[in-house]
Amino acid sequence: MLNLKDINYSYNKKDKVLDSITLDIHEGEIVAIAGRNGSGKTTLTRIIMGIMNADCGFLQLDGKDITKSIPADMAKHIGYVFQNPDRQLFASSVFEEVAYAPKQLGFSEKEITTSVKKALEITGLTGLEYNSPQMLSRGLKQRLSIASALAAKPKILILDEPTTGQDCRERTILLRLMRKFNLEGMTIILVTHDMDIIAEHAHKVVVLEKGVLKFNGTPLELFSNEKLTVGLGLELPEAVHIGKEYNLGICLTPREIYKKLEERNHAHV
């Protein structure tokens, strides 16, 4: 669905931020982009969205060349949720905030109302239409940002560190939402530092180091290779540590741990 070929980008034509990135993202996948600070993760998503344009290389969406696009063109196909909700909410009411994208994209009055309603419903914000975005709690603000991106009915959702600064309860809610969208067909590109999220939710993980694509595969392939993971400057997920501690083999998620523990208990009985 989304194809990147030899994407290169440097700041001021000097410091290379992205070096020949080639990558394919298929429909319905949750793709995590990981890497240390400064590895180029956010730059990559910004280029996909058209906020920045690559110095050279090709970018294709469903066969169409989008290498030189601008964000306003991409808004119909890709929704971008920035890391800091305070830097992307600007309307006077929740309703206006979510209606902004459909309005800018020329939806009809009726379409605007339905898509706003649906977006608020999916993100659990129904009833807050007339509240001011600035007065919401941080968790609700982030959900509002997601609703605002969804209202344009994009096929791809880019989430930049969506769980930063959230408490654990909100984090669980956000991840559950993400899972739900994906099950309904949304392709998700997730930039994250959190290895636990990658292990539990991502279908594919892409690791960047100093702008170079160092790994492109499944979380299992990555985390079952401790040397590779640590070599890329990443930590192993909690579940993997615990799996090792209890001698259960490679476990990526808490659920796998419980399952294997139960199996072991039954075996002993």
Binding site: I70, A75, F82, Y100
Partner: protein, 223 residues
């Protein structure tokens, strides 16, 4: 070379501006302008202030033109243009060669300005880059939701209103945290505040000031 105290530089800027007001001989004014330009070049700050200098130069030429159009004589137009440029260059020079902390320390210690005012000036300058980044981030977020910049200037002004509101609201929320933090750091209990920045006038400051005052008195009385 420019290690004068901030107060000295402020006074020098004021002296030269005052001279430009009191003197009505365009040749002398030209002379003052040349002095300023020489100082600018020696100061080595030309890349920082170059653009402003050129813009103001163009503006003053424009001013000269407007004066002529409105029927004033060449002499008067020239004087008014020169006056404007000497005064604005004096301020630019003073700002370019002095650190903000030194200026505010001088204003508080030597000009007896209340400390809270000086603090506000440095704090404004500190927050400008951060708030600018925030405004650009909001603009970006809007583009990602389909916003396109309009050619219509009125529409563009209305579009700017959309960014201003969240910036103002953020500022209001942040002002509460900032006030709490300042209170905790003892800001309002300043009975005896000290200053790191050096403000004492040294021998060279006094000599420069005396020379400047004497020469300007001479020039003003002559012209």
């Amino acid at each position: 070379m420019f290690n004068f105290a901030a107060l000295t530089k402020i006074i020098l800027a004021l002296i030269i501006s005052l001279c430009s007001i009191l003197i009505s001989d365009s040749y002398v004014l030209f002379g003052l302008l040349i002095i300023e330009l020489i100082v600018m070049i020696i100061s080595g700050r030309t890349n920082k202030i170059g653009k402003a200098v050129v813009m103001l130069g163009i503006f003053s030429i424009g001013l000269y033109g407007i004066q002529l159009l409105c029927g004033s004589s060449t002499e008067i137009s020239l004087i008014s243009a020169l006056r404007m440029i000497i005064m604005s260059y004096s301020v630019i020079l003073m700002l370019a060669t002095t650190k903000t902390q030194q200026i505010t320390a001088a204003l508080v210690k030597q000009c007896y300005m209340p400390y809270s005012y000086a603090f506000m000036v440095t704090a404004v300058l500190r927050f400008v880059p951060d708030i600018l980044a925030e405004s650009q981030a909001i603009r970006e977020a809007q583009s990602c939701r389909g916003y396109r910049e309009s050619a219509n200037p009125i529409k563009r002004l209305m579009d700017y209103m959309i960014i201003i509101k969240p910036m103002v609201f953020r500022a209001i929320q942040r002002s509460e945290h900032m006030a709490i933090s300042l209170e905790m750091r003892g800001f309002s209990r300043t009975s005896q505040r000290t200053f790191m920045a050096e403000t004492k006038l040294k021998g060279i400051d006094y000599s420069v000031l005396i020379i400047a005052m004497l020469s300007s008195a001479m020039l003003v009385s002559k012209f």
